[in-house]
Amino acid sequence: MAVRAPSSDLPIALENASVSVGALTILDRISLAFSPGTPTVLIGPNGSGKTTLIRLAMGLIEPTSGRITFGGRERVPPLRRAIVFQRPAMLRRSAAANIAYAMAAAGIDRARRPGRIEELLALVGLTGFGERPARRLSGGEQQRLALARALARDPEVLFLDEPTASLDPAATKAVEDVVQAVVARGIKVVMSTHDLGEARRLAGDIVLMHRGRVIESTTAAEFFSTPKTQEARRFVAGELLV
């Protein structure tokens, strides 16, 4: 593990944070905190604001109103946060070079990189793929390489935006296994999904979103056993929230 900076980005706290584009409100007065511990899973239908919430928490966008703090500080560059986008863009380089690039950007010592690259490729099940052009890998392989690339930065929090949305069950299982391994290393995972099964398998905490608002934020156990709101009950029951 890299030598960690003394201060932590966690908890990431949103206070009354809204995001709007023109007249359109995408996130509506959200107050929420992501703290160290078990994975937080954002669920909700498409367009409910999950992706925007992740981008906000990652620090890629600023709230239109309200505020967001990282370990109590505002506007902290994403040195200790990493993200895997729903459709990750691979750099036009080999798989290994994609990981090496992330390490270089994070200021990781050149000498430490080769061994760490092998380790990460092994972690995501891509041993032997290092020299392949990243953009020639399959969708599932690219997703796992993106995970390796994000982990290469030694983050303390990892955001995953619908990491399994377009994958078949085998590829989904492979990605979920990596996520479990990441969690086991003590990295905070915040991920979105609209797959209830995945939420059950991975979540420690659940945040249910609908139309840009947080409907319910609680532990996974409580969410699935005793959903409090009408929307949560319908969502858990498998009805369509529109």
């Binding site: 750099l91 380089r93 950007a105």
Partner: protein
């Protein structure tokens, strides 16, 4: 150059005068592309990565400048570099340097516009990833240029093709001086005016062969790029 020998003989015997013309053409066009790259690439990158009022107008103008008429550029550079012009004291008119300047002006918009398109396409793809990796402005531009290098090389080759094939600008600012500023295109113009059509055609074939070779190179570069970078 002896007008009686056929162009093929001159080429096959590596006639020193002909080789001098070929090397001068290549040297001037390569230097022009080098200069145009140094100026055009940053302009292209700037337009690709930044948003400012009037940016669209800049892009339209840049694209239009790709079609700059060489004679107009030649005339403008002539007036600038003439002893009676503002830069006359440099003493550059009727020298290869003047030809490099004129061709660089012709090629810069081509390289800038093609680089802008290439870099912007890649930037749209990379923007979020690079932001998430906390890559600063310098790192962003160098990453984009490096990852787009195969496409950018084809832009440079397009510029080279334009420079090597044009005659209007170099004949005005170079003066078509035998053994000093005579390029393949100006030699073709001269031989045509002397009615020595076989020699003109022979030189034309050499020029076309070079342009074809350059395009084959561009194609090869693109193929290599696709294989290595996907």
């Amino acid at each position: 150059m002896p007008g009686d020998a056929s162009a093929l003989q001159l080429v096959l015997s590596a006639d020193p005068a002909l080789m001098g013309i070929v090397w001068l053409s290549l040297g001037v066009s390569l230097a022009a592309v080098g200069l145009a790259t140094i100026v055009g690439l940053p302009i292209g990158a700037l337009l690709a990565l930044t948003r400012f009022p009037g940016r669209n107008a800049c892009i339209v103008v840049l694209n239009a400048l790709m079609g700059l008429p060489p004679v107009v550029v030649g005339l403008a550079v002539y007036l600038l570099l003439s002893r009676s012009g503002p830069l006359g004291s440099w003493g550059l008119l009727f020298t290869p340097k003047a030809m490099v300047i004129a061709q660089a002006i012709l090629v810069t918009p081509i390289i800038a516009a093609l680089a802008r398109q290439t870099l912007e396409d890649l930037w749209v793809e990379y923007r979020d990833e690079l932001a998430a990796m906390n890559v600063g402005p310098v790192g962003r531009i160098s990453t984009l240029i490096w990852d787009a290098r195969f496409s950018l090389v084809t832009a440079l080759l397009a510029g080279f093709g334009r420079a090597a094939a044009e005659v209007g600008a170099v004949i005005i600012v170079g003066g078509n001086i035998d053994g000093f500023t005579r390029t393949m295109t100006t030699a073709i113009a001269l031989e045509t005016s002397k009615g020595d059509l076989p020699l003109a055609i022979g030189l034309g074939i050499v020029l076309i062969a070079i342009v074809v070779a350059v395009n084959a190179l561009a194609w090869g570069v693109r193929r290599t790029g696709e294989r290595f970078a996907g």
